[in-house]
Subunit: 275 residues, 2 copies
């Protein structure tokens, strides 16, 4: 515990009556009467409202690359470009529920790992009107990653090219499986870049890598996922020791089958219940 004040003592609490806040009041009645009556009479249009959408960066890893799913825009703005799955937030659903709904509707996925990423609110990010985008990222193992067959061709999987190292951050590029560049709409290249940066950082101290693997996996597969996400090679032995010492892995007793070499032990992720 600190042994010494970092600064001299401060003033007492502000007990004097506060001034009216700088923002305009929606109704003078807000300071009188009971709360129920106030809420009954409240006019939401007192402040200008904005459009709020969620955009989901769905990430998966295979063949040493990160992939994401994008949908083609057939409408203005950015007609013909590709966008992250997204949609406007409905008045009665939470932000997280909106992200789940978008994933189910556009990628046919449910029960995936979804976490909030960042909110993008530049006034000019959407040329139509002011739209705040609450971005989420989702992680699925490659077997669940949506294929054209699942989604009737409405989504395309594209490889992520990260033009920076470590956790520098910045926008990323997308390349289609035929090698052509995929142009992204809005600020979605920034959103994807931040998603990559986020999971690179999370990989060090959270078991987020398991979200990108099937229920059982070998240590080599887990390391491949980590290397794919981080974009650099890792020491094999250190990785093994660290993972086995983490207490997050449990040996299944089974081994790989149909491999051209010595089969590796299969592990599963075990949730730390009470620590």
């Amino acid at each position: 515990m600190p042994r010494k004040p970092a600064s001299p003592p401060r003033q007492g609490p502000a007990r004097t009556p506060a001034r009216t806040p700088a923002c305009r009041r929606s109704r003078a009645a807000a300071t009188t009467g009971d709360e129920a009556a106030f809420l009954e009479a409240y006019d939401p249009s007192a402040y200008e409202r904005l459009s709020v959408c969620v955009d989901v960066a769905l990430l998966s890893a295979f063949e040493g690359h990160l992939f994401t799913a994008v949908v083609k825009r057939h409408e203005h703005p950015f007609q013909g470009k590709w966008a992250l799955p997204g949609g406007f937030v409905r008045p009665d659903e939470s932000l997280h529920a909106a992200a789940d709904r978008v994933l189910a509707a556009k990628a046919g996925l449910d029960r995936v790992f979804v976490e909030q990423l960042y909110s993008f609110g530049d006034p000019s990010r959407d040329p139509r009107t002011r739209v705040i985008s609450v971005a989420y990222y989702a992680l699925v193992d490659c077997d669940r990653f949506p294929s054209p067959a699942d989604t009737a061709g409405s989504v395309m999987s594209a490889r992520i090219v990260v033009p920076w190292e470590g956790e520098t951050g910045g926008p990323v590029q997308l390349v289609a499986l035929n090698g052509s560049r995929v142009p992204l709409a809005f600020d979605h290249a920034d959103i994807l870049g931040m998603a990559v940066k986020r999971i690179r950082g999370k990989l060090d101290y959270t078991p987020v890598g398991f979200q990108l693997l099937p229920s059982t996996f070998t240590l080599r597969q887990l390391q491949d996922v980590h290397e794919t996400v981080c974009g650099k090679a890792l020491n094999k032995d250190s990785f093994r020791r660290k993972m086995l010492a983490s207490g997050l892995l449990e040996a299944t007793g089974d081994r790989q089958v149909d491999v051209e070499h010595r089969p590796a032990e299969l592990y599963r992720f075990v949730k730390r219940s009470a620590v």
Copy 2:
């Protein structure tokens, strides 16, 4: 680099025409004509809009405790409770600009370290109407922390009591300088809790601690700040070695004055320009 596919190869790109997205179209004209004409005719009310506000958790550290600034609510809802400085986002300002504006208007602060924290969007978090709160956290050194004299008594400083250890997370409590509990409005206890959790995590790998100190400081003061934020004691020697080895500190050559013991060297934070 990964030496082996983590999964068998996948399908080619989705080249079949995409279906109409699940979300309703705002206008049938969106798929025809040029983009300029579309934007001209765009109707923002096609989707229900929401209220968006920013709330700022202003944090500072002194006397071994974390402090924040709250304003008393004189209006419904939560009349009489205390809230983080906040305000609705204006249609023409970015989210970050809104946070800066709120800090300037309610705490009289500018040029402070401000970063986005998280967006809170539970449908019932504001009883008036649907309000999305994009929360920010700001860090200032204790000398710049607003006093009642600066703000005409509209803000109160309160001590943060963190009822969890490490980076567990969860809501925190606020205690006024006279020892009484400060009841918080909305979900602001959760926002504050997440702000504390965030800077605890950031402290390990970013020079965020300097934001809580004046321009020059001793190693002891820096350690005090770290201990205050993390809520636990740190090893003195390791802390000194790590900080001096980080390359982020630069000795000023000056020393403390008017202290009752050997004066310590004063350091300043040096931005890593090109590394």
